[in-house]
Amino acid sequence: MSYIPSDLLFTSSHEWVRDEGDDTVTIGITDHAQELLGDLVFIELPEVGDTIEAGGEAGVVESVKAASDIFSPVSGEVIEINEDLVDSPELVNEQAYDNGWIYKIKLNDPSEIDGLLNPEAYTEVVEADEH
């Protein structure tokens, strides 16, 4: 069973969201997602200033096995991206929830994060996946 931190929110498509408390959030993909993908070799990041809809494509993660879209959990404007991932995509494999963060968004609608999965609900998603 992969690691699921208790202080984050999640999506059923395996993204995590950290509420930074100032109407911005940090977004990445979960430990379970990186495990499924295997060693990442390339990450296509969004651009700062992009406006992204919830459920829309924010980028692409590519491993030796597969390429997969990153679906934005929330809507808003991209305010920062993790440039370190360009040269070191393995950060997502090694530290999915810390140095492997992907982008930060300024929320259009702060209440949108209420619709995300809590750690318990996401644990169920992962367990169903592993069944």
């Binding site: 060693d39 070799v41 390339f42 030796v64 096995k65 597969a66 390429a67 995509p89 393995e90």
Partner: protein, 483 residues
């Protein structure tokens, strides 16, 4: 060792040298390079040895069983090769007038006719030079059709989640948005999900039948009716045509456009061994949009159909007549098989797959769709072995190489964990099939006594386990002389 690393100044392979020195006088001076290109300088014997050694390192259909699912790696009959190399065909200049090319054109015309009959389509163009280009041509025709009717609001193509990645990619290349629909646990498409996404924005749906999960889509007629009712068209990805040759025709299932992979179904060399060919076939309403050139026959003469004949054509996809040498091989293959032989391709390829599936299940391997009969390929999932023994599908794949078998397709389709997509084809003997299953059992036994032996494979090939992550992250494919 690279051939560049064997280079020594002044060595020449005379057989490969041009007989006369080319004159560069008619080229503008500013277009000429100042330094000659880097070329290896080796003797004729060095060149022969180098390339012979390389060929000995090949792991290919000519040397090994190659059950690569969804790729149809079957034997490429030598007759197709030798007959397509007849001087009258090889020496024909592509600019030769139609009147001097009647033999070649008749072969191409007859191939069009054979493919029409096999697929149940109204017309065929041979010009796309690969499966992916055939897909692009197919979707471009769907788009041209809707636009010719002023039906501009259709901007979505529906693709099942099990599809080949080229399907959504081709649709996006043509400017469409993708609507993905799920596959049910029994391997069929979720028709309820399809109904939800169909609408006035639907341009079409791209399907592979038999699908990439190795089963026949049982509700295809209902799906065709639903899509047509919504005003969309049906695209058939011909990757798995081998399973139904002479048995069922995509045209009869309701498909409007199809691409065929001659390098799979019609046994022309592929996978580094030769270029592909991806002819497209269409129903009547798409005929005006077919890519040119095609071959016409008026009962006396054969001739190229050009843009003048087909003003609505999506245009050319290749110079001249496409990959003509490959098309010839496919034509000869079809003629060698004949009507009955083609039906036997489908029968034996599905028989071989079902025989292997049954043996694998009996040996305790888990089928991904246990209640379904296999088509010409099937999927097993090694998730149990990965969990209990610590050896995953990739480890099994690498170890199979040591047993003299090319690995099946691994980790595709993505929706089955730790999967092997296995396609034996009709050209393998029962001994080769048994041998594969026995190798799988032996590998599992090895893993039971400790994962390391399997995880370290392969041991017997020119190279050991490659670091594919490093290769992708630090791509290095160009040789540079030492400083």
């Amino acid at each position: 060792m690279l051939i560049f690393e064997q280079s020594s100044k002044g060595r020449v392979a005379h057989a490969q040298s041009p007989a006369t020195k080319a004159s560069l006088d008619d080229l503008p001076a500013d277009m000429l390079r100042e330094t000659p290109p880097l070329m290896p300088e080796v003797s004729e014997m060095q060149a022969v040895r180098h390339y012979t050694r390389l060929s000995q390192k090949n792991f290919s259909i000519d040397t090994h069983f190659y059950p690569l699912g969804s790729c149809t790696m079957k034997y490429n009959p030598r007759a197709c090769n030798s007959l397509s190399m007849l001087p009258g065909l090889v020496d024909r200049h592509p600019y030769a007038p139609d009147s001097h090319s009647q033999g070649f054109l008749s072969c191409m015309h007859d191939l069009q006719e054979i493919l029409k009959e096999v697929t149940g389509m109204k017309a065929v163009s041979l010009s796309p030079m690969a499966g992916a280009q055939g897909e692009f041509a197919g979707v471009a025709m769907i788009k041209a059709y809707h636009e010719s009717r002023g039906d501009m609001a259709r901007n979505e193509i529906i693709v099942p989640d099990a599809a080949h990645g080229t399907n959504p990619a081709s649709a996006v290349m043509c400017g469409y948005k993708i609507q993905e629909i799920p596959t049910r646990d029994d391997g069929d498409i979720d028709v309820d999900a399809l109904k939800e996404v169909l609408g006035p924005q639907t341009a079409g749906i791209m399907l592979t039948n038999p699908s990439t999960v190795g089963v026949f889509e049982r509700r295809i007629q209902e799906i065709a009716a639903l899509v047509h009712e919504a005003g969309g068209l049906l695209y058939y990805d011909g990757a798995n045509l081998n399973a139904i040759l002479g048995k069922v025709r995509p045209g009869d299932m309701g498909f409007d456009v199809i691409h065929m992979n001659l390098h799979k179904t019609f046994s022309t060399p592929h996978g580094g061994g030769g270029p592909g060919a991806g002819p497209v076939g269409v129903s009547e309403r798409l005929e005006p949009f077919l890519p040119i050139p095609m071959i016409d026959y008026d009962g006396t003469n054969y001739r190229f159909i050009t843009a003048d004949d087909r003003p609505q054509s999506i245009g050319r996809l290749s110079a001249f007549a496409g990959n003509a040498g490959i098309l010839l091989r496919a034509y000869i293959y079809a003629r060698l098989l004949g009507r009955q032989g083609m039906t036997r391709v489908a029968e034996y390829s599905t028989l071989n797959a079902n025989y292997m599936l049954k043996k694998m299940k009996a040996a305790g391997f888990e089928a991904a769709y246990p209640d379904r009969r296999a088509t010409h390929e099937f999927i097993i999932t090694l998730r149990k072995e990965a969990k209990d023994l610590g050896v995953n599908a990739m480890d099994f794949a690498k170890r199979l190489l040591d047993y003299g078998v090319h690995a099946p397709t691994t980790y595709f389709p993505l929706l089955v964990p730790e999967c092997f997509l296995i396609e034996p084809t009709e050209t393998e003997s029962i001994d080769a099939l048994d041998n594969f299953v026995e190798a799988m059992i032996k590998i599992r036994e090895e893993a039971e006594t400790g994962a390391d032996r399997v995880k370290g494979a392969p041991y017997t090939l020119p190279v050991r386990r490659l670091d594919d992550v490093k290769a992708a992250r630090e791509l290095d494919i160009a040789w540079k002389p030492a400083e």
